[in-house]
């Protein structure tokens, strides 16, 4: 499989190089909002949505920056524009679709200041993806994030019913679970190489 083919990019970002479990991006929501499935899943979906938005924004802005020969402003431009775009989407949602806002919108501010979004924008630029590759990359990263946070939430919900030792509650347990999930996802390493 060609390493720049869309299907490879997709599988690779979902499984082998999962943003959360292999690349360490977006850990704050992964650890923080994975306590319950009914918050984790909307959170994942909202993240994927923001990823798409920021992927498109970043792609456009990068063209401008390169044209003006001011690539060193990339970071500032990306983050400022992504943050504003998300804030705009949030306000729009709040106004025009309160129900959607209640289920997804509340996660938006949390997502803006999260590495996965900016990381996605930066990596797609470093890897010099074209527009469709960038989109697939964003979708893959988003689905990978949903996968990771949903699995985590499922496990944590199940563990709510266990009698955990007193020291393994809270953050330590989440991290250990994250470690074991990450160990599991190592099985996908190199998927699509041969």
């Amino acid at each position: 499989m060609q390493s720049d083919s869309l299907i490879f990019i997709f599988l690779n970002t979902v499984l082998a190089n999962n943003f959360v479990l292999a690349m360490f991006l977006g850990l704050c929501p992964f650890l923080g909002v994975s306590g319950k499935l009914n918050t984790a899943v909307p959170m994942g979906i909202a993240t994927m949505f923001v990823m798409l938005v920021s992927s498109v924004c970043a792609f456009a802005i990068n063209k401008v920056l390169v044209a003006l020969d001011i690539e060193f402003l990339r970071l500032i431009a990306y983050i400022a524009i992504i943050a504003s775009a998300v804030q705009l989407v949030e306000m729009g949602l709040k106004k025009y679709s309160p129900t959607l806002f209640r289920s997804l919108g509340i996660f938006l501010p949390l997502i803006t200041t999260n590495c996965a979004i900016l990381g996605l924008a930066l990596f797609q630029t470093f890897k010099e993806y074209n527009f469709s590759q960038s989109l697939v990359y964003a979708v893959g990263a988003g689905i990978g994030f949903i996968l990771a946070i949903t699995l985590m939430a499922g496990l944590r919900e199940k563990l709510l019913l266990s009698t955990l030792p007193s020291v393994t509650q809270g953050a330590a347990l989440s991290l250990m679970l994250g470690g074991l999930l990450s160990l599991t996802f190592m099985g996908f390493a190199g998927l699509g190489n041969l």
């Binding site: 709510l160 019913l161 266990s162 009698t163």
Partner: protein, 446 residues
């Protein structure tokens, strides 16, 4: 007819196959136990409002005389099981645990079996309304164990229509054989009772469901039917809890009682064979329910068998009569799957008592096993006849998440059959958890 009937005996999905242990009693004729010197007659032997007291301390009563009258529609009268004098009316331990009001009747040594008080009716001449009243006057309740007033069950509200009477002769509980013996020894009364019930409800069809391990009863009952009878006798698979009304209806007719509903909702009325046989016997002569057939059995009993026992007889007296082997014992009222165990020898036999089971040391030792954490083996899910998820219910119960149990996991559909606990390799007392959960939910709602 459910599709299951295409393949041999009807059945339902899931359930368990505990060893039956019925051989010790199933082949012995029913015998009668003498009166004890005193009877303990609780006022609430049935589901519903306790009966209203009619007698006073010190009063003399004769066998069959009403001691208490029905207090409203969902209530039944209580008749004196023997001739004697009211010694006291006081709190006594009940099978359920709390102390309950009971009449202590001192039985005269000369008391005989003859029933001295009756109120005969002509069943043929009664309209359904009159029939219901007559049934209530007998004090009849479900003898299958729930002790629900039979007349309530048999009175069909205007807006409902019923097409089938299911007669429950399954007796799926291990050890018990009173229904089996009743079918074998009183088929005529049973048939008569079925007729009365059909008359009261107006149904056109009756099915007697009997487990396959009682084919002799099936054969005998079929002999009492004409070729084109509207009553049929069907064998169903031997499996616990086949006798539960929901399962039996599913097995015989393929219908499912809706959650939270009763058989009436799908046009069925279910009665136990013992109930109808007793009805067939009592109704024409106008007698009250004063005694019942009880299977007294278990490894702790010397002379296991089925006995006719006057209601109110303390179990201590019963055991003395049948002779029991001492040591460490467990006394169970009813079968081993659903019957409560009791600790007070004064606990009386009541209308709902179908058995008295005495387990002794070896069985107790064997059953007293360490409780392990749930290993998620899923056996309970594959046993639960209601298709619940006892594993998660149990885990939630341990965390006191009672509300979630009811809301997400349908706790209230559990009828406490005990299949889940029976199969659980971790010996988790699931049913006990569920009872607590239900009780607390009820209290919270109240």
């Amino acid at each position: 007819m459910g599709i299951f009937n295409l393949f041999g005996a009807g059945t339902f999905r899931h359930g368990v196959h505990p060893p039956s242990h019925k051989a010790a009693t199933a082949h012995q004729p029913i015998r009668r136990l003498p009166f004890p010197d005193h009877l303990v007659i609780p006022l609430n032997q049935h589901i519903g409002k306790p009966a209203k007291l009619l007698v006073k301390k010190g009063q003399e009563v004769v066998r069959g005389e009403p001691l208490a009258s029905a207090d409203g529609f969902v209530s039944v009268p209580i008749h004196a099981p023997a001739t004697g004098r009211i010694r006291d009316i006081r709190l006594m331990p009940s099978a359920r645990g709390e102390q309950a009001m009971a009449i202590i009747l001192h039985v005269y040594a000369a008391a005989t079996q003859e029933v001295l008080w009756r109120n005969p009716v002509d069943p043929g001449a009664l309209d359904p309304q009159g029939m219901i009243q007559a049934i209530q006057d007998t004090g009849m309740v479900g003898l299958g164990g729930a002790a629900f007033p039979s007349h309530v069950k048999l009175s069909i509200p205007e807006e409902k229509s019923v097409d089938t009477l299911v007669v429950n002769g399954c007796e799926c509980e291990p050890y018990l054989s009173c229904d089996h013996r009743t079918m074998l020894e009183h088929p005529r009364e049973l048939m008569r009772g079925i007729r009365y019930a059909m008359q009261a409800t107006g149904v056109s069809k009756a099915i007697v469901g009997v487990e396959e391990n009682k084919m002799d009863a099936v054969k005998l009952l079929r002999e009492h039917l004409h070729a084109q009878s509207d009553i049929s006798v069907e064998a169903v698979e031997t499996k616990y809890p086949q006798g539960s009304e929901k399962m039996l209806i599913k097995s015989l007719m393929g219908r499912e009682v809706p959650a939270g509903g009763i058989p009436l909702d799908i046009g069925v009325v279910v009665n136990n064979v013992g109930t109808l046989a007793a009805l067939g016997k009592l109704l024409p002569v106008g007698e009250g329910l004063t005694e019942r057939v009880v299977t007294v059995t278990g490894p702790g009993v010397e002379k296991p068998g089925n006995y006719i026992i006057p209601l109110g007889t303390p179990i201590g007296y019963v055991l003395k009569q049948v002779g029991y082997i001492g040591g460490e014992n467990e006394f169970i009222l009813g079968g081993p799957m659903m019957g409560p165990s009791v600790s007070d020898m004064e606990t009386p036999v009541t209308k709902g008592t179908s058995g008295l089971l005495v387990l002794n040391e070896p069985e107790i030792e064997q059953e007293t096993r360490r409780i392990w954490p749930c290993i998620k083996c899923g056996r309970c899910l594959n046993a639960c006849p209601m298709h619940l998820n006892p594993a998660y219910l149990g885990l939630l119960a341990a965390k006191r998440e009672y509300e979630e149990m009811a809301q997400t996991y349908h706790l209230n559909d559990c009828f406490e059959c005990g299949c889940c606990s029976y199969v659980c390799p971790s010996n988790i007392p699931l049913v006990q958890h569920f009872r607590i959960a239900k009780a607390i939910n009820r209290e919270q709602a109240a």
